[in-house]
Symmetry: C2
Subunit: 392 residues, 2 copies
């Protein structure tokens, strides 16, 4: 029985074209792109081509504004810590939201220990931050605003363009963690008015462990990884050449196929929303359906544990997640769902399904059958459910 991957947010498969170009890179014995001899130049040219594709993907004016990193987490740490430390003489206040990824939360926590003050804004029950709240939070000490483009657990998209306009008007640097959006939905750094944008490669079917940071020309920021003069002096260290080449190819194809992919993904989303009620009752959809990614839904199943559902689905060959893969092992309820106002029990009853261009309606049908059976089994064992049934 083939495995059905409804956990694309954790890992999307490599495109055949990405596999092919990475295998070619492995077999090409590329040299160090910083070396000045012929062998080095061949590697440098391939990195330049990848950088140009990534530039186009996010709408940057200049390829030099793209820094290749080891992934979204490095990009976020670089953006937040680097911008904060480089602008400390101007102020020590940073604005963010309550639903950011741990990379943002932990970077800001580290800065709090260095004398920075962080204002973390709430989201409404639909999971969105109010741009007016951002405007009101800005003080003359504010040097950075960091708001994620879309949430990695719910897929809800934030009003980044509106917040960007506020940041621009108030002359405050604006970073957006767009790791879960770039390559899935159109993201344009100029339209959004962002100065810093973090993204990864795997969301658009490139390899893990490689990502990018857009740094608008003129932005004051320190490097996070200091050493050599690579990446236009913004990130030291010999490049992950094979990964960068893979990411470049994935970006090139994402640009070309974004519309068609979006339609396919959205059709599957509508299919799930339409048919899920035929299989299950008593659940909450935690994704804001007016503003969200086309490829992810966050669902709380009442009276049971999401983790138990995940494990039973796994037994049936269907991979889903319960929260961010980065938070695996933590027993705490999702801070994202608690911020939406969910009860602890509902937050613990959550599964996240995220699909890709490789999924079909038949996959969803298998998921429906499996989750119907799993939830029935778990609810039959659930004292919470028994109490509820007896009382209703």
């Amino acid at each position: 029985m083939n495995l059905i991957n409804l956990d694309h947010i954790s890992a999307a498969p490599l495109l055949p074209e990405v596999k092919a170009i990475m295998i070619d890179a492995i077999n090409s014995d590329l040299h160090n792109p910083s070396s000045q001899h012929q062998a080095g130049e061949a590697a440098a040219e391939r990195i330049d081509a990848a950088r140009e594709s990534v530039r186009r993907l996010v709408g940057a004016a200049d390829a030099k504004e793209i820094v290749f990193t080891s992934g979204g987490t490095e990009s976020v740490n670089h953006a937040i810590k680097g911008a904060a430390m480089a602008n400390r003489s101007k102020g020590n206040h940073i604005i963010t939201t309550n639903i950011e990824h741990n990379a943002v939360i932990r970077s800001l926590k580290r800065l709090s220990g260095e004398g920075f003050k962080v204002t973390s804004l709430p989201v409404d029950e639909t999971g969105r931050v109010d741009p007016d709240d951002v405007a009101k939070a800005v003080t003359d000490k504010t040097i950075l605003i960091s708001v994620m483009h879309s949430n990695n657990e719910t897929g809800t998209i934030q009003p980044i363009k509106e917040i960007g306009a506020i940041a621009r008007e108030k002359k405050v640097l604006f970073h957006s963690d767009a790791v879960d959006s770039v390559g899935v939905v159109p993201v344009d750094v100029d339209e959004l008015n962002v100065d810093l944008l973090s993204f990864g490669s795997n969301r658009f079917y490139g390899p893990h462990g490689i990502g990018g940071l857009y740094i608008r020309k003129g932005t004051r920021i320190f490097p996070l990884l200091e050493g050599g003069v690579q990446e236009h002096n913004k990130r030291g260290g010999t490049e992950n050449v094979i990964g960068i080449i893979g990411m470049g190819k994935a970006a090139e194809i994402a640009i070309k196929n974004m519309d068609a992919r979006g339609e396919h993904l959205l059709r599957l989303k509508k299919y799930v929303l339409e048919h899920f009620p035929e299989y299950l009752d008593e659940y909450l959809i935690n994704t804001n359906l007016s503003y969200s990614l086309p490829d992810i839904l966050n669902i709380s199943l009442k009276y049971i544990e999401g983790e138990s559902v995940m494990l039973m689905l796994d037994g049936d060959g269907v991979a889903v997640s319960t929260k961010s893969a980065c938070a695996t092992g933590s027993l705490r309820a999702s801070h994202v769902l608690m911020s939406l106002g969910l009860s602890h029990a509902d937050a613990q009853g959550t599964i996240v399904i995220s699909w890709g261009i490789d999924n079909t309606r038949e996959d969803m049908d298998r998921f429906f059958a499996s989750i119907q059976e799993s939830v029935k089994t778990l609810r039959d064992m659930s004292p919470l459910y028994k109490n509820h049934s007896n009382n209703s």
Copy 2:
């Protein structure tokens, strides 16, 4: 005409076995190793196997002491900045040497801006630091000593074991940048008494953009990349799974073949030292021949520019370097060579040759012929050389 790579220090070719396992990893559609379903577990198992090989390579007691990074530069930044910031309550003094890689120099420069005081020790004319100088430099504020294992431009090996014993006795954390040593010569973290050890994968024929940091159990250190709970909570970010698998295989083979490789590399070193004088005169060997790596020589050719020699050799299909690839584009003379007491002119006349298990005596013969011709051409055009010849 095939290219002869005498610039292994910048880039070593991937082993056939490393290529094969990376290609297999690419074709295996591995999932996110942090995901708890079956697909994630398969990826996690492959990372565990790689970590075990790397643990053995550096002699760590526990595989959890190995953190996979995006390469030597990240490892060094993590070790130095992370240890300094985490131990700031104990003191603000750090000891290093004048010949470190830019990753160390720039990390320490950043810390200087944060209130840390750095003592940078000189080396003698053979390129080695005196352990007694380290002992004398330790104060009650000293929290970290960072000394490279071998130098990336000369290959000269430092008395790390002796310095490690001093650090242990004085209860100061000891980091060694062993990027150019690990996988080439035996390195054992217990024998050396290091608490932190940085290394990369390409020096032992693994991919670029992946490396490791050994963190001795109990060492107080902050993460550099913060976010998820990956790498036993020491480095957030989804892993570069393909790179880690490649590095693990390269480590496994390096352990098995280290002695045989060392003999081959040393034979080539002796061959160069024996025959170089037949082709050229008026040069300096800047590598300490009593304490050095078996695969690199640093040679200053009098009266000419190393960069011109490099470019002429490149025209003949022989790749060499003039200094660290990480410093490409900088016009300044090597700080390493200036620290050895070389004149500016001699430092600028330097080439670095570094060979590998794929090189032969015939490669060296072609190098000899090419450099003899190149140096003759360049000296014939050199006013310095003409003055010298007229005066002698």
